[in-house]
Subunit: 210 residues, 2 copies
């Protein structure tokens, strides 16, 4: 979660902008989650992180649930901006960049804890339809980016004429599996192994060999 919540992809970025108060609360929420985990998140802790009281939080949000959905909206937006950076390159390097950023070789502590928090939230999908919608959107976005890169490569003649949607689902599923493995187990060699195997899969499946 970084700081460039500056420009949006869509034009509807102006209407649904959040108020300063909401933005501060969501940022504080994220910091509390990184430190204590989602399951130990409370309105009191958020208020403490803000330097205000619980009632101040409840002025902006009617319930904890509403706050959490708002938090997920921030995540989706951040996601849109973050992965949009990759797609300007050529298909080959774009796909490479995506794989590298989805399965990084190392993770600093804060990113690590951020990933765990997102997994905790993802596991709360039974809580509400709104939760489910947000994570559906995130996965759709990710698969869409990869699919577009592949289709672009096929059109340009750089990739073989594969079924882009299927291969995209495969790549994203593999990356997600590797990412979750990393943050929930002590298997330090696993992510790199997956990345190597995934790269070689991409190479043999997509690259034009004469």
């Amino acid at each position: 979660m970084n700081d460039h919540v500056s420009h949006m992809l869509n034009t509807d970025s102006i209407e649904q902008k959040w108020s300063d108060g909401e933005r501060e609360i969501v940022r504080a929420t994220y910091r509390v989650m990184v430190e204590h985990g989602y399951s130990n998140l409370s309105i009191s802790k958020i208020a403490g992180e803000l330097g205000k009281t619980k009632a101040a939080v409840y002025y902006h949000y009617d319930s904890k649930e509403e706050l959490l959905v708002s938090f997920l909206d921030f995540v989706v937006d951040w996601f849109k901006n973050d992965i949009a950076e990759e797609i300007s390159e050529s298909p080959e390097t774009a796909l490479n960049n995506v794989v590298e950023s989805l399965i990084p070789l190392e993770l600093d502590d804060e990113t690590f804890h951020g990933q765990v928090v997102l997994l905790e939230l993802r596991s709360q999908t039974r809580r509400s339809e709104e939760f489910r919608e947000r994570f559906t959107e995130i996965n759709d976005l990710l698969v869409g980016i990869v699919r577009d890169i592949i289709e672009r490569g096929v059109e340009a003649g750089a990739f073989r004429d594969v079924e882009a949607p299927r291969v995209a689902e495969h790549i994203v599923a593999t990356a997600n599996g590797a990412r979750i493995d990393r943050v929930t187990t002590d298997r330090p060699a696993a992510p790199a192994a997956v990345r190597v195997s995934l790269s070689s899969y991409i190479d043999s499946e997509l690259r034009q060999h004469d």
Copy 2:
């Protein structure tokens, strides 16, 4: 979570067997989790499910944490029995069976909720080293099974001479990613797409073509 906790793989199965009381509590814990989710699990609910009181639970376990770790030990044992069934077949069909059981085409409600519960627990890895150890063991087991199948196939000449550990990591990561996608999003077509792509990957990467 089914009923055949009958025979164990290892010989140390006799010593660390659980008492009847513990077994009943863990089973009740599982039922409560399937119904209410891990994050709404409480000792009161477990006791209610048992038809006893909280104090009866605390007679068997000193803390909720200890109960949860014990629950995970049951999961690991169940896992050992469950996946051990696949490995008796020939390498080709064994690998096929593993993929099919890791990415099933349909899930009944209870299995679905059980998967979500396991994901919730997995996301609690920051809670303790003991949690982390259990999920490390589960992933190691899974990768080990797949690796063994591949190595067996390579020795028998059925598979090409690939790096079994790497390919095994790839397959398991993909399957895990697909499984988590399924239970946390509304993307009904995704699991089948991953399964098809994964199968074709296995076919082109492993199968001996002359």
